[in-house]
């Protein structure tokens, strides 16, 4: 059987790393304290990692989050379900609204799969605890760069980028 990951160009190339980033606003009817939010974030990171692996990922690069609130900031991340999740930061008082930036980078599945796993993980864990989630901004990423390119080819590629950015910065009248 053909491996769906290698059957078509566009996802699984040289090292097959795909990613998805999203910024969301998370709200709860009543304020949540630091322990509840740490637990929410850690569980969310592990859920996303788990869902990526269930969709066929070979390895979790990282699932990382940054949480902002009026009471302070926190971060939570994991490099894989078996490694557990880690969080840090403090909140000065319970809060009902949070802004979370979540960045998932995974090897072996398409970016649409990473996106689906990330959003499912966020919604499932947050909504399961009575929170509502509003998406603010998102970004998918697919690495198709050939890191085995020769030095000459790479320098040529850099020179072209320079030319492009200089033209953008200084358009002809």
């Amino acid at each position: 059987m053909t491996d769906p990951l290698t059957a078509e160009k566009g996802c699984y190339t040289e090292h097959g790393v795909s990613g998805y980033g999203v910024a969301v606003k998370v709200s709860h009817p009543t304020p949540l304290d630091e322990t509840q939010i740490k637990n929410l974030a850690e569980t969310m990171m592990l859920s996303i990692a788990n869902k990526c692996m269930a969709r066929g990922a070979r390895c979790i690069g990282h699932i990382k989050s940054h949480i902002m609130s009026e009471a302070g900031t926190m971060k939570a991340d994991t490099i894989g379900v078996s490694h557990g999740a880690y969080s840090s930061g403090h909140l000065s008082h319970p809060v009902a609204e949070l802004y979370m930036a979540v960045n998932s980078i995974v090897q072996g599945i398409r970016e649409e799969e990473v996106k689906a796993a990330t959003l499912e993980g966020i919604h499932e864990i947050a909504e399961g605890r009575g929170l509502t989630v509003d998406k603010e901004k998102e970004h998918t990423y697919f690495d198709e760069f050939d890191f085995t390119a020769s030095k000459q080819d790479f320098i040529k590629q850099l020179e072209e980028q320079f030319k492009d950015t200089e033209q953008e910065a200084d358009p002809e009248p």
């Binding site: 940054h66 960045n103 970004h139 590629q157």
Partner: protein, 204 residues
């Protein structure tokens, strides 16, 4: 202005080391240190974490500085030189960046600036050697990163047993016998002084 990259695959502890090193290098204002953090996506996480510490950081998003946004990186290096002229620029590329290409991009940015290159320090996560060296998965990328390194710092050494660590170091030595190999734990502080010393004294 010396440019040092702290590279390595995702999740190996680059940001944590960068934060600690930047404080140690800066001392009590004796050295000016600037940070360049590159994140693949347009939703920054690491940049936000670093900004909270009050350090001067330039966050380059939307691609990888070793390839897609290499020109942006090169221009950032030149702008830092012109506007801030730090003693040290610590660069955290994305976890998929290839160190020798980051060096090339930095050199290009330094065409009109007086720069020196510090060592390419590649972190290798001691807690997952099998995953990182699996040639059916990440192996090709991670071995390229290790082979490009001037210094390989085996990170999170406080979290693994000595036997596993010895095995990991043997594999790294096979891949890159010329690199300095050291054990690092940003948590306990092991190896941090040596990394700092290497950055301060490195000549290329």
């Amino acid at each position: 202005m010396k440019i040092t990259q702290i590279a390595g695959f995702l999740g190996c502890g680059k940001t944590t080391l960068l934060l600690r090193l930047s404080r140690e290098l800066a001392g009590h204002g004796e050295q000016k240190v600037a940070l360049v953090v590159n994140e693949i996506g347009e939703i920054p996480v690491d940049g936000k974490i670093i900004e909270e510490t009050g350090l001067r950081v330039k966050d380059i998003g939307g691609g990888c500085i070793c390839c897609e946004v290499a020109a942006t990186f090169a221009k950032t290096i030149y702008a830092l030189y012109r506007e801030f002229n730090p003693d040290h620029v610590l660069v955290e590329p994305t976890g998929v960046a290839v160190p020798h290409q980051v060096k090339l991009a930095a050199r290009m940015g330094g065409r009109d600036a007086k720069i020196a290159l510090g060592p390419a320090i590649v972190l290798f996560d001691a807690t997952r050697p099998a995953e990182l060296l699996d040639m059916d998965a990440l192996g090709q990328l991670v071995t390229t990163q290790v082979k490009d390194a001037n210094v390989v710092a085996v990170s999170k050494v406080d979290a693994v047993d000595p036997g596993t660590l010895d095995g990991t170091e043997s594999k790294i030595k096979e891949l890159n016998p010329d690199a300095e190999l050291l054990r690092l734990s940003t948590f306990s502080g092991e190896g941090v002084d040596r990394v700092k010393e290497l950055i301060m004294t490195w000549k290329e």
